[in-house]
Amino acid sequence: MGRGKWFQRGDHNDARKREKMAENLWLKCPRCNEIQFAKDVERNLRTCTRCEYHFRLRALDRVEITVDEGSFEEFDANLYSCNPLDFPGYADKVKRAQEETGLTDAVLCGFARIENFPVVLSVADFEFLGGSMGSVVGEKLVRAMERSLQKRLPLVLFTANGGGARMFEGLLSLMQMAKTSAALARMQENGVPFLVVLTDPTMAGVYASYASLGDVILAEPGALIGFAGRRVGNQDMGMKLPEDFQTSEFQFRCGQVDRIVPRREMRNTLALLLSFFEEEAAANAAKSA
């Protein structure tokens, strides 16, 4: 899993390597070392056919395995980063990420249905600059939240934001933490549900804002979830850390996660939860739609 190395991977455009691997027929599980057909792994929702290790999912693949077929209608696809700090190298990084992922930025938002429950869906893609949150991600999330609020539809959000706040946009990225929290405060006040699924990895500014604010917080097994990576911050990480430090299981143990849900059960779990949150209005809307 390379715990604690996620940032480096994102930074090095591991995506490129990944794509090369994807062309490959074979895949080696980093946990159990089983070498297996890449196609079999794909068919298994990108989990190891032997040990159920959860490989990362690209945003569109996540959408596909989560929502009712053909129900996803993306919105706000056309927002672009603009390098507000003139940060060295940032423009190039964005351009390369766009080319390599086919995405405009790190998050997709849209309307969708899950087991016929209408929702607003937001899915991040780690391959786009570690799924980190800059102005575009923040704005897209807030627009999604505002649509949730306006239509009183639950927001279902998959994190996968490795780097947390996107440091290339400096303070503007930090402010997205407050901005998204503001929109969530409105949802909370108006009783519109927010379901979070923490996926590998979820760190720092993202985990310390909207990702921790779900009414319900689910997590995929074995995901890296935490506040500060070992090289970020100046804390002394020399102390003895538990085996499972900064994993889904650790966060569950510490009371931060409602359930750890294997990928193959995620859709069903979400549907059960959505049946709790369903409002008469929404239910009727669903029937008449």
């Binding site: 704005e139 407050a178 929290s181 503001a182 310390a208 921790s212 506040f227 850390l241």
Partner: protein, 350 residues
């Protein structure tokens, strides 16, 4: 004499030492007589050096690099939260504890009177000497600190008293225990809950505005920054250590500091802060009373403005203040705007 001088403060300190020496000499009748005999005019001498000192100070502070700003914000002699509370409030009663399991000395707070009104004051607190620094964890708050801060804010809210926050932290604590106690959730929860508050909140970044650890008590209706305070998404050292642009080398933090645009002026440009408060010449630590006084004036001005708003107006304005933060391109909106021509031109970015 000031201790712990920064490198660029040394020329000023040398002139200060010279002035002091001359004044001491001038106060000695024997030496004064001697000098008069040699036709030396001490007053003129001192005035000349003082003028030079002013000039050097102006030059130095006009040319501070972003990294110098970081150094100023972290200056070991800079006034801290409790200094300002002591200087600008009355009746302060410090309140402790998160009502969960701890009291975090890295965040202080309590009830006070400020310019005649009851207020809740809250702030990060660094330590002055080594022992206090350790006790206060260098101003890096643990989950209990954020929970205490929120408890006090919600108390203020219940009793309709405004809230003043003093921000001064390198970052939130990030060790194993902080993680076990839910540091991320603690910060996130504060961010969200602060938007529910129905009373004015004014935050002043008085030193280091360190990332989420700062923001966790700094969701304000107004955010003020002292001239030499900084506000950053990540410590420059960490940024340098992570990015290949800086060779993954912590010692290149000054370059990262420049790239990150962490000064008070930038914070205002980005809309994250509302006003930069000029500090006394040479920085707040050279004249804490003057720094406190200007902070007091600014806080009072902003509070007074906010006190005219209803709770709903306050919350709506607070929402909008954060809602518009960020910069991006929206080609479609640009096209639509262009085609509308005569219509109201509302830029998508601020």
């Amino acid at each position: 004499m000031l201790q712990n001088l920064l490198e660029f403060e040394k020329p000023i300190a040398e002139l200060d030492a010279l002035i002091e020496e001359l004044k001491r000499t001038a106060a000695d009748p024997d030496r004064l007589a001697e000098a008069k005999a040699s036709n030396i005019d001490f007053e003129k001498e001192i005035a000349g050096i003082e003028a030079r000192r002013e000039q050097v100070m102006r030059d130095v502070f006009a040319n501070l690099t972003p990294w110098n700003r970081v150094q100023m914000a972290r200056h070991p002699q800079r006034p801290y939260t409790l200094d300002y509370i002591r200087l600008i409030t009355e009746n302060f009663v410090e309140l402790h504890g998160d009502r969960i399991n701890a009291d975090d000395p890295a965040i202080v707070g309590g009830t006070a009177r400020f310019m005649g009104r009851p207020v809740m004051v809250i702030g990060h607190q660094k330590g002055r000497d080594l022992k206090e620094r350790q006790m206060r964890n260098f101003g890096s708050a643990r989950p209990a600190g954020f929970r205490k801060a929120l408890r006090l804010m919600q108390m203020a809210d219940r009793f309709k008293k405004p809230i003043l926050c003093f921000v001064d932290t390198p970052a939130a604590e990030a060790n194993l225990m902080a993680e076990e106690e839910g540091i991320s959730r603690a910060i996130a929860w504060n961010l969200e809950q602060m938007f529910h508050l129905r009373v004015p909140v004014v935050a002043a970044v008085i030193g280091e505005g360190g990332s989420g650890g700062a923001l966790g008590i700094a969701v304000g209706d107004r955010v003020l920054m002292l001239e030499h305070a900084i506000y950053s998404v990540i410590p420059p050292e960490s940024c340098a250590a992570i990015l290949s642009e800086f060779g993954r080398d912590r010692s290149r933090a000054p370059e990262a500091a420049a790239a990150l645009k962490i000064t008070a002026q930038h914070a205002c440009q980005f809309g994250a802060a509302d006003e930069v408060l000029p500090e006394p010449p040479g920085g707040a630590h050279r004249n804490p009373a003057a720094a406190a006084s200007l902070l007091q004036t600014a806080l009072h001005k902003h509070l007074s403005e906010l006190e005219t708003l209803s709770p709903d107006q306050l919350r709506e304005a607070r929402y909008q203040r954060y809602r518009r933060l960020g910069q991006w391109l929206d080609p479609q909106a640009m096209v639509e705007n262009a085609s509308r021509k005569a219509g109201k031109t509302k830029p998508e970015t601020i």
